[in-house]
Structure formats: structure tokens, C-alpha cells
Symmetry: D2
Amino acid sequence: MTTRVGIIGATGAVGQRLIQLLDPHPEFEVAALTASEDSTGSTYEEAAKWRISAPIPERVADMEVGETSPEAIPDDVSLVFSSLPSSVGAAVEPAFCEAGYIVSSNSSNGRADEDVPLTIPEVNADHIDLIEVQRDRRGWDGALVKNPNCSTITMVPPLAALEEAFGLERVTVSTLQAVSGAGYSGVTSMEIIDNAIPHIGGEEAKMETESRKLLGTFDGAEVEWLDARVDASCNRIPTLDGHLENVWTDTVAEATPDAAAEAMGSYPGLDLHSSPDRLVHVFEDPKRPQPRLDRDRENGMAIAAGGLQPTEGGIQFNCLAHNTLRGAAGASLLNGELLLENGYL
Amino acid sequence: MTTRVGIIGATGAVGQRLIQLLDPHPEFEVAALTASEDSTGSTYEEAAKWRISAPIPERVADMEVGETSPEAIPDDVSLVFSSLPSSVGAAVEPAFCEAGYIVSSNSSNGRADEDVPLTIPEVNADHIDLIEVQRDRRGWDGALVKNPNCSTITMVPPLAALEEAFGLERVTVSTLQAVSGAGYSGVTSMEIIDNAIPHIGGEEAKMETESRKLLGTFDGAEVEWLDARVDASCNRIPTLDGHLENVWTDTVAEATPDAAAEAMGSYPGLDLHSSPDRLVHVFEDPKRPQPRLDRDRENGMAIAAGGLQPTEGGIQFNCLAHNTLRGAAGASLLNGELLLENGYL
Amino acid sequence: MTTRVGIIGATGAVGQRLIQLLDPHPEFEVAALTASEDSTGSTYEEAAKWRISAPIPERVADMEVGETSPEAIPDDVSLVFSSLPSSVGAAVEPAFCEAGYIVSSNSSNGRADEDVPLTIPEVNADHIDLIEVQRDRRGWDGALVKNPNCSTITMVPPLAALEEAFGLERVTVSTLQAVSGAGYSGVTSMEIIDNAIPHIGGEEAKMETESRKLLGTFDGAEVEWLDARVDASCNRIPTLDGHLENVWTDTVAEATPDAAAEAMGSYPGLDLHSSPDRLVHVFEDPKRPQPRLDRDRENGMAIAAGGLQPTEGGIQFNCLAHNTLRGAAGASLLNGELLLENGYL
Amino acid sequence: MTTRVGIIGATGAVGQRLIQLLDPHPEFEVAALTASEDSTGSTYEEAAKWRISAPIPERVADMEVGETSPEAIPDDVSLVFSSLPSSVGAAVEPAFCEAGYIVSSNSSNGRADEDVPLTIPEVNADHIDLIEVQRDRRGWDGALVKNPNCSTITMVPPLAALEEAFGLERVTVSTLQAVSGAGYSGVTSMEIIDNAIPHIGGEEAKMETESRKLLGTFDGAEVEWLDARVDASCNRIPTLDGHLENVWTDTVAEATPDAAAEAMGSYPGLDLHSSPDRLVHVFEDPKRPQPRLDRDRENGMAIAAGGLQPTEGGIQFNCLAHNTLRGAAGASLLNGELLLENGYL
């Protein structure tokens, strides 16, 4: 028996990746697709400009696309994946929650809200129970669960390993982000060939806040954010997929590169369907990870780390993740799998 | 009357750029070219695989390439530009100095030596008088003067402005470096298309040490290095020219972005022939500077800065310079112009 | 005394290049700028997203942008440059001609019309007098003059040299076109990084028809198109500027590569302000021309050719031109200069 | 029972791809690896700079690399794959053949020799029996079999379909080739970023001769080459893998695009292990095939075609294949599978 799921905002880049990841999936079955008004009534194949090189799954190609409202979702669907623009998400997601659907959302709206679980299952699965607080407070039958931004997801698992082993006081991060992170048409070729663009609006702030919530402690009532300083600078470079990040940490206890590598490499994973066998792949070669060579490890769901070096009072390292798989569609899916595992569906 | 100069290691990428910058030059005239043994006796045109799109200067094309030894340099040459691989530079440059030539060198050997001036003329022209200490100690008639690494040059002028205005305690820098920094054949297309490569061997260490020497104080006897912590992480990306850098600083006195921008933008330049009219161009648009759009400002000799933001206790900014002009050939040339201005030639 | 000119569609990529080329120009002075309705009343700086790395010319920055209709153009303007989308051009340009303005247009509408001069001044300046036929037929005081498509312009000068020297029977051409040819946002980075895209809609047909009209004979009444077969295949590749083309010709008389190179290299130019000193630069090195190395020759107004080889019954060669300079803005400007030279202004 | 095979020139780019394709293979088992002298005695892992993102197969990593001479190959090996530089291949391959080994070679030496089978199994499997002629003439116990150049392989299957259906009189082809075709270090990033390079030395000639031999007729004694004119122009562009080609044909019988698409799409394949299910994938979308989207179809062994259009007297189309899989390592492997199938091993 599979759980029937819906995808709202199904025609965008993340929606397409979700459809690819759900074709097939042992636990979930796509039962409803929605998009913006002008696509309503079309088949998915007509509505989506399918961008993925693998062909569009046959079953989904012929499905009718509905309007993005709870009425368009069959009653036997319990989980809805959302990858809407954040302004739309803010307007629409609460209606689905109120109508009883659990929404696993990749949209950035509400991620910092006190009663909204923001989770990377391998890192802070326990935060998922913030749903109870949310339901109490908002009177919803459904629930809203968020995954963080792609650039945040890339660095948080190795940081979680360091926090657990040594404690974190300060984190500084510089990102080299792929163009797919801006959506299919987000970066023109005239902008990025033989070029790099500093400052991705809003992204630095997301990395600074989301990482502290993810690494925070949930006591059953609220999440106490990690008390560490996080400074981020985000750059777009001419890569297709895979965000590479340079990270510096000041740690509470003294850390050696060997001990830090051990902490990262042995950081426990989960048994969820889309979880990688090993969460953090640690390289000895300081020239790895590299986006093109390492973004596809474990179906794009592993985090890669390397270049560990001592600094005065901390550890410097590089990390990498596939931004549209581990960093977006795969992140929402994994949260869905966690919700199922924990009995919320 | 122009000063006659030689170029040793004239066929490499930096040598070619030097020849381009000296064609013509109001103060200097190319009088001797040397290269590795197998080129000796050829014309420059035969010996060099000319890579620059502007044609090879006619006068230089027909010059005979000599052996890289003091004997190959006419006696009326007083200044020699060197852009040798550092292992060769270490072996060969002292012989030129001993033979009475002043060597303005882009090679990395000896940059950290106590009695070797490492200068960016607009930043620490006074360090040039370390030549006196050097001559006392080494008994040379000539002298050895160095310019820093291209990635160091990019950040030091804005950092110098901050140091002067607020004092620096800590600097963290991440670089997005162009492929030309590795030489014409240093990065293959298979390595870098749709990719980025972390860790440039030796480059991080150069940034950390050279910047502290450049920002240090010379009391007539020795340079006291800046007492600040500098952490660097260097990355290669698919750009042709222009190193972009993300920098975080902790300052001694409190700094606002406006005051920092003012300090950078008004940082004084020099009247040397190759100096830019304004040393640091400060952008308000946080998405600038960008390598392709901004590397050629003021003939590739200006530094561009932007994205100034407050951090807890400091200022975060981005900066950019043309790595083979301001960062290499132009840097050596500027040191040559400073030597002339200060009466050393 | 300079001629006052207007630019309609002034905010687009070609409009911006025109403004750059006219800043300053010894014969023309920008007196009016128009754009689409939502820009009307703004300054040019507000209306245009200025994309060129050189700063926006000061004089133009503050000019008010008018509506794209003859009423918005001062009476003392006699020449109007047009770079509108072809559907808009078809609707709007005739009104300007009727109102007495001479329109030098880069838009593709009307290029094949019997009474519309389609000119590359160095190749078929005499076709400009088709204006008389046009005025007779249409009753206009003004006139409509067109330059060809960027990919056509690239190959026609070398083909004209071959036609004149040997006669042409058949031409086959494959293009490797830069992304700027599709406009600033025409090709996304997700489409073109590590990729090439065959078939540029409409472009093949333009090359096949326009080249035959350009190489045709004007007898004072009509243009007899060149009677040769032309087959084209157009591709987009990851270059910023500069279209490279592989061309095969079957010639009437026998041609050797040497004689063909001689014919191309000595093909006469013109003395117009924007004409290159030498129209076709012929390379001996078969690996030239290359887009990045050769697109900027003579301010981007020269054509480069190379790789001349004999085939059974003809000559094979490669050619290159800067698509937004020689191939668009510069082409319209050159037509304007021809109109002035020939007394039409 | 698997056949034991050797790989000579095992450390190069094609050798590495072969090892990847043979890990595992139902019919073949790697039993010997050779490389240049300075690698002799090392393990394969030490000798090869492994460039493929998938990890080096464990079994092969520890194998000792031998000298490239028949003595280094165990007697129970019957098939040897060769991917040596052509000058080395010319010197070395005959010795292996004389020593009784059958050599399936990707090197370009000898491809045009009268008694050397040059085969694409799906196209001209019958040519393999030229081995009998070769053995008679050369007195070898072994045999030398070649696959064509990667750019030739890309166009020959669709051309074979057209030749069979309509007859070919003339073929003109322009290629847009990936950098991997030049080997891992063959094209530097400084050469190809924002650029394209015309003329690939020797490649045009290979396409012109090899295609006529492949499409020729074998009567048991000799191959009569196809009597058609073939003109090629080859270009390097900034793609990693996948050669895209524009092809024009003049056909003997009249051909429509529909009939040509039918001929290509139904061109029969083979049942060999590495053969694709369908040899030629024909696209309706004229903007396909594209290198990044279509090079990996059927494990990189399918040919993609599209953009079929009528010309005066023929058909124009585009085609694409993965140059290091279908065009090199996979081509040699497929020839090996054909040799096994036909009883030569």
C-alpha cells in the first residue's frame, strides 16, 4: 500500500525533479499535480516544459493538472509536496494545512517561524514533532514542514558533526553556486559565461539563520537556536549543478583535521528510502570535492567534504551537495519519508 | 632618455604581458630577452608561442633571445624583470643581483625573506628602501624586489584602506580565481568546464603571509608584519581573467559600510605611469564587481570592490583585480616604475 | 555640422550598442530615443538595463525616452535607426517612412521585399538607390533601408570576393553562433553550458535568401538575385560574441586557395567612418579565425577568414565576424553613413 | 566461460573508458594491462591518473601494468584492445598480430589499409571477414581490426540508412566536437572558454576517407569504397562530451524527410551485448539532438539524429554521438563482441 501524494507547483524545476524521484517510489504514488491558473486542465506534458534529459514518466505525462487549491486534491491524498515561489507559498500553503494536508515544502516562506519544523532528517529529525506545537497554536489538522535552502543543506551535515564533536562558536562560509539554483531561466548565458556573480539576494541571510535553527535544540516546546555566529557570502559561477562551499569554523573544544574527518565520516545516517548509505563522504585529496565529479554520489543525496585543515582555534573545510537533488527536491522528499516513518501520514 | 630593461623568462604568459605593456612605455625600453636554453639564439617570435590576441610588437618579434644568465644582458641595462618559475627564480635571480642588476620579480621565491622588499607601490612604497638592508647584508650592487601573488594583490589595497581607517584584527578570504592564473596550459578544459576546483596548492599560504608583510610597518631596518590573523581558501573557476574574492574582516575600531567605502574609494594612488587614476573603484551595486565586466578598468590596473556589509565586529566585502595585469606583469612593471621614481635606476 | 539621428527601440541590446558606437560620432548626434510604452517619460538610464561594461554615455543617460511613433521624433532629425523586434518593426517602420524619416533598420521584416534596399555598404552600395523605386511605389518622403542578419553578414563579404573572381554556383554553410545573437536573455545558462543547440528558427532561411539578394545585380529598377543554391544550418554554442562559420562553395571558374585568399584579402573597402581599413582579414593559420581572438579586429567591424582549402570544384573556408557590432549595430550605422555619403540625408 | 582480454595503452582516456565498460562484462574479462615504459611494474591505480568520476574498479586497481609488447600478455588471452597514439600503434600493433593476438584497435594507423577491416558492427559487420585476406597476405595468426574515428562514427549510421534507402552522391559535414575528443589535456581552458577552434588536424581527412570505406561493399576479396564525394570541416567547441554534426546529402533517388526519418529510425541494430536497442534515435524537435541532453542515450551507444529537412536533391540533418563511448572505447569493444560472435576468438 503506497501513500498517495500531491505536488503543488509541479511544473517548475523542483517539481520536475520530484516527479523524477517519485518514478517510481516504494512508499509514495503521485495522485495529484497542480500548477498556475493558465495550466489548469492541461495534461502535465502540455503544461510542463520538461527540462530533464530522462524522458517524462508516462503515467504522469497524461495526468491532468489542477488548480493550486485544496479542492483540487483528492481526499485520499495525505501528503503534499510544495515547491512554489515563496510569495505564492506564503499565500497558499496554510490553506492546504487547514484543509488537513501535511505539506512538505521547499519554499522559503515560514522557514524561520517558531512553530514550523525545519528539518534535514539525518541532522534534526526530532524537530519534526514541532508539528504538535504548530497544530495546537494554529488549529490545523494538517501541518507545514520545511526543508532549508540548498546552500544551507550543503554545509549543515558536516557542521552538525563538528558541533556534536567539538561545539561551534563561529562559522564563515563562501559559496560557489550552480546556475540551476536560480531556476531554469534564472541566469542568462550572457551573465555567466566567463564570469562569476557575487551576492545572491536573500541567500546569505538564509544560510545565517537556517543553519542556526537546524543545529538548535528542540525541547518538545520550542527550538533553541544554536548560539553561534554565522557569516555567509554567496556567489554564482558557471556550473550547472552542485554547490561548492568553503567553510571556516571556530570550535569550542580543540579539533584536529583527523578528528574532524572522523566525526564527519561517521556521522550517522538514516534508513529512509532516499537517504544515502553514508551521509558525508570525506575526501583526503584536498582538490575534492568538485561539482562535476562529486555531485551525483549516492543519487545526488550524499554530502561531500574535503580539504580539512587546522586554523587558529578551529577547522577549515570544503563541502558540496547536489543543489536540486539533496538541496531541493530530494530534501522535500526525505522530509516526506520522515513524516511517514514517524507516523504522521 | 628611456631606461633600458631586460626580461628574463620572457616567453611565458607573464613575460608576454610585460612585452605588451612595454610596447611602448615612456620610461622603459626592452633591450634584452632571455628564455630557457632551447630558445637561445632564436628570435623572440620563434621562441614564444604568442598567446595574446593583439599582435606581437614588431620590434620585439625580431630580437634574439639570450640565455638566462647575467652575461646575456648588456651592461647598459639596469633593470631586469623576472617572471621565472619560482624554483628557477631562486637559483638564478641572485646571480643577476650580484652582477649589479636590479631585479623586479614576479616569481614567488624569496617573497617572505626579511631583507627582500615585497611591494605594491600604492600601499607600501616605503618598503622599497629595504634594498639598503639587503645590499648591506648580501653585498650586492644590484637588488631583488618582489611583487606579491595575484590573489594577494587583489585584496590588499582595500584591506590597507581598512587597516588605516579602523585597524585589522582578522581577515578571512575565499577566492574565485581565473584559469589564466595557472598559466596558459595550467588548467585543462576537461578539468574546469561545468566545474570548480578547491584548494590551489601554496596559494592559501601565500595570501596569509604576503598580506601581513605588505600591511606591515618598515622602520628603516626591518618590516614588522601586521599582527592579524589571515585565513584563506582558494578556488579555481571557469573564468579566463580576473580573480574575485569574498573577504570578511574583524576591525579594531568600529566600521560602518559607508565609512569603509569612503576609506577604500579615497585611498590614495600614485603618479606612476601604470598606476590607475583611482586605485580602488567602489561599487554600490552588491552584484559587482564581476570578473568579465570589471577586470579591464583602467587598463586592468584598478582594484574593484563592492558588497560592503556590516558584520559583528567588522566589514564584509568583495574585491576583484585582473590577475595577469594588476596581479602579475603590471605589478612587476609598477615596481620598476617605483624604483625609477625613487632613484634606484 | 552633424546630422541629428533618432534610435527607435533604443533600450534593447542592439540599441545599446548603437548608443555606444555613436558616443561620439563625427557625423551623427543622438537627438531622440524611443522605447516601448512603459518606458515613455523615463530617462534613458532608468529605462535601459545597461548591459555594456563601458559606462552609459552621460549625455544619453539623462535623455528622456519617447514613445515609438513619428510624433516623438523632432523635425530636424532625418535619420532613424531601428532595432525593433521584427513584428513591431513591420507595424511601425512604415509610419516613420511615411512621415519623412529615413529608417536604417536592423529588424528582419521586409528584408526580402522587392523595393527595399538590403545593403552591406562595401559589398552592394549601389543597391541603396532602390530607394527611388521604393519612393515611387510607396509614395514615401522617407525611406526604409535594411541590413542583413548577423550570420549573413559574416559570410557575404568573402563570398562576394569569390563571386567576383570565380562565380558562385553553390554555397553550403554551417554556423557556430554566439549567445549574444539571441539577445541578452535569449539563451539561458542551463541551456548552453556544456552544450550546443542546432537549428536557430528562421536563421537558416534568412541566410539562404538574404545572401542571394546581397550578391545580386541592381539595374536601376530591380535586384536580380544571385542564381546560386545556398544551404545553411545554424547552431548556437557557448561563446559570448562572434559567429564562426564553415563555408563550402562550388565555383564557376576554377579557384585555388591562393587565388581565393588574394581575392578576399584585396576585396575593396570603403572610406566610411565605421568601415574597417581592410574588409576581410585572411589568416594562413588554419586554426584561425577564432571567436574570442578575432572578433574585435578593427573595432569589431572587420570580417576574418581562414582555412581556405580546395574542394572538388570549389573552395572551402571559415569566416568570422562580431555579431553585435559588424553584424547588427555597426551594420545599421554603416548603412546610415552610406546614406549620408550618397546624399540621402 | 569468459574470454580473457588485454588492453594495451590502458592508462589513457580511452583505456580508462574501456576498463569502465568491462567492469563487468558478460563475455570478457580483463587479464592484462600495458602502458608506456615508465609505468611498467606499477599497479594500475598507481600508473593511471584515473579521470572518470565513478571509482576505479577494485579488481583492476591492483593489477600490475606490463610493458606494451606481446611478451607481457598471457597466452590464454586472445583479444587485445588497443588505444595507443597512432604513431605507437603503427609500430607496435603488428607485433601483437604476428604473435597471434587479435587486436581491436581505436588507433588511427592503418584504418585505410586495403586488408584491414574498418567496422561499425551494425553498419558493415560483413567487412570483418577481410581478416581472411589480411591473414593470407600478411601471414599473421592474429589479426588487426579497426574502428573509425569518433567524428566518422557519429554520421555513418544515419548515412548508411540514407545510402540503403536512396543512394548517396555527395555528403558535406560540419562538426561541433567536444574537448574530450582531444584527450584529457588536449585542449586547455585558455583555448576554449568563450571560444571555438576551427580545423582539427587530420580529422577532416579521416571523415572523408573512413566514411567511404565503411559504406563500401565487400565482395570477399576487397572493399569497394562508396563512390560519393565527402567534404568535412571540423570544429572544437566548449562541450565536454558528444560530437554534434550538421550533414547535407545529395541523394540518387528522391528522398523526403519523412522517408529519411523512417529509414534512419528503422535501420537494424545487432544483438551484441553493447549494442543499443535502437541504433538511431530520430527526433522530431529540430532543436535536438543536443550534446548534453542526448549523449548518454542507451549507455552512450546510441546515435541521435534530428532536424531532417529537404534540400534541392537531398536531405539535410543533424546527428550526435558520445565520442568517447560510441566513438572510441565502446566502438572497440563492440568490434570485440563482433569478433567473438563471428567465431574469431
